[in-house]
Subunit: 360 residues, 2 copies
């Protein structure tokens, strides 16, 4: 398969270390690049699998999840694989079953709204209840043969709670905040439990072979800094403590320009930036103690090539070759993205490194 040959053809000596070295803010031979949702609907190979299998079926079947995880590595030549899974998988063993409605995203069967609902949730051992995910990790590691590292992930307490409480996606997070403000002890029990479960899950992923981890607090930007400090920060800290520090961790959110210093305080070797904050300004807010990941607008990939690549150049210029930058989008690849544009970004980021090497 052409894409497969292309992908592996582009491997260079040292490539397998590029992402992990950047996470540790060590010098690299070139800026590593991967994409959130790099395994997804924009890829023909992915759509072919999805025609035959449901989303949760793929997540829970190691062979399928591994195959889908590897597709973008072959097709794009990215510098890291990310486990194909769903953020919500830990909800079911917690006692919060859900399904995906056609074209509507996740639907929680019985949203968690009251203190009694919170107290009904059950702690569980991810090594048991999510073992198919850990098996996927082992399979992917075997298939990758060290070519690029594998990133595991889990949702952070606020983001996981928002799905459980709202019953699905939200734009206002009204029910989540109503619980938070209305019954802080119940909120802290909920967020504390989610932090434990997500921390254990991340640790189990690292033990199964994930060489880095990403914590998705995708929706936490809906909170102001005071709420973050009171209702989220302690739980994210607990999550990081529990995850164990075995491997580097990326800590990601969107709309978080006002929270970056607090997110850094909560934990993470690398802080994810969305596209709203220029990378250099975001990095200043994060501080010297961490790297940054980002931050091209995913919608830039929908536009013409020249404009797209000039925006890639802008991100690279703002990073300025400083150790600790992982190139990524500010959020996931959009389903309508042309694959060729994604490849062009990978090549452009890699060529940037080659140009620097050539002139250095």
């Amino acid at each position: 398969m052409g894409a497969e040959r292309l992908g592996y053809h582009r491997q260079r000596v040292g490539k397998s270390d590029r992402f992990l070295r950047a996470c540790r803010r060590q010098p690299v031979d070139g800026t590593p690049v991967w994409f959130m949702r790099q395994a997804g609907r924009y890829l023909g190979e992915y759509r072919a699998v999805r025609e035959r299998h449901g989303l949760l079926e793929i997540c829970r079947t190691p062979e399928l999840a591994a195959e889908v995880t590897l597709q973008p590595v072959r097709a794009l030549g990215v510098d890291a694989a990310i486990l194909f899974s769903d953020l919500l998988l830990p909800l079911e063993p917690l006692g919060v079953p859900f399904h995906f409605a056609e074209g509507e995203g996740p639907v929680i069967d019985a949203p968690v709204r009251s203190p009694a609902d919170v107290d009904r949730l059950r702690r569980f051992d991810p090594r048991e209840e999510l073992r198919s995910v850990l098996e996927t990790i082992r399979l992917v590691r075997r298939e990758l043969e060290g070519k690029v590292p594998l990133i595991g992930f889990a949702g952070a307490p606020f983001t996981l709670a928002s799905y459980a409480v709202e019953g699905g996606r939200s734009t206002t997070f009204a029910a989540t905040k109503a619980l938070m403000y209305g019954d802080p002890p119940a909120w802290h029990r909920l967020a504390g439990l989610l932090a434990e479960v997500a921390g254990d899950y991340l640790r189990a992923q690292a033990e199964a072979g994930a060489q880095a981890l990403q914590v998705f607090d995708s929706w936490v930007g809906a909170l102001d800094a005071a709420d973050y400090r009171e209702f989220v920060l302690p739980h994210v800290k607990a999550l990081f403590a529990r995850a164990g520090g075995l491997v580097p961790v990326v800590h990601f959110g969107t709309g978080t320009a006002h929270l970056l210093a607090l997110q850094r305080e909560a934990g993470g070797d690398v802080i994810g930036l969305d596209w709203r904050v220029p990378l250099d300004e975001g990095w200043r807010a994060v501080g010297d103690g961490a790297g940054v990941q980002g931050n091209l607008d995913p919608a830039a990939l929908l536009g013409p090539r020249a404009r797209l690549l000039s925006r890639v150049d802008e991100v690279m210029a703002r990073a300025g070759g400083r150790p600790g930058h992982v190139f990524n989008l500010g959020h996931g690849i959009l389903p309508t993205t042309p694959v060729d544009n994604v490849k062009a970004v990978v090549d452009h980021v890699h060529d940037h490194a080659a140009r620097r090497a050539g002139s250095g």
Copy 2:
């Protein structure tokens, strides 16, 4: 009706000027307070009207729109009325019909996706095609008898375009940005037309009696500063020029912490702040040349009274009694908000003024 007596009972000498004086950064006898979506589902009186009439029917029937506009003035004692209308009304005469699907928000019958779609839109005269709105303004002014001023409003080009292009609400604005990046001339024709129409519409509202205006660019925070400067700023400037400067204008968006200086550059006597940016920091970004409106998290109204009022105090403290602050939420009142909490905020802001007067 008790609420009605309550509302008018609380009028004080000078109250009718409070909001307009604040818009001009003149000293006031107390910080003016009103709420985005103060006429809405959280109010029993509103739900009673909605049981008998559709949303667009209310918007297009001056007697009904006037009644709904006045409800929160009576019930809450706010310092300004805002025209009850829908942001999307100008789309229909432009040639973009839409309807409201049950529980789903607006659905555009045929989204504007191509340059040909853009060129099919027709310029129109709001004094003709939206005259029912202007009639509502005249009715409301008569009913208000000068007790509080009436605010008119319109959507800004990006926000209006996003509905027309996406076909409804969006979280990614993928199609809008695809048009913007993919065919900048078509985008500029679309945004330019929307700026003309919205500017004319605002001017017509002021001429009909609106004593202030608000420009809603609710979703523009999805753009980074470079995109705002290239694709939005010139059109918002044109809108302001066209609106005519007859009355003060509030310029509002959400998620705009990174855009505040540019929004101020685009226009507006008062810049709206959402809750993510602390009011004093937001005001610093806006600069000395404009007031600010905001910025309590609407979700704070879902929480217990003591926490709610301490957050009101925090907003007031950050404003520091500086002329030019209009108290409001960071976005619209949520449908699940208890009316008593909204009243409590109005009274608390007003009592703050009384306390300052008492100690001054």
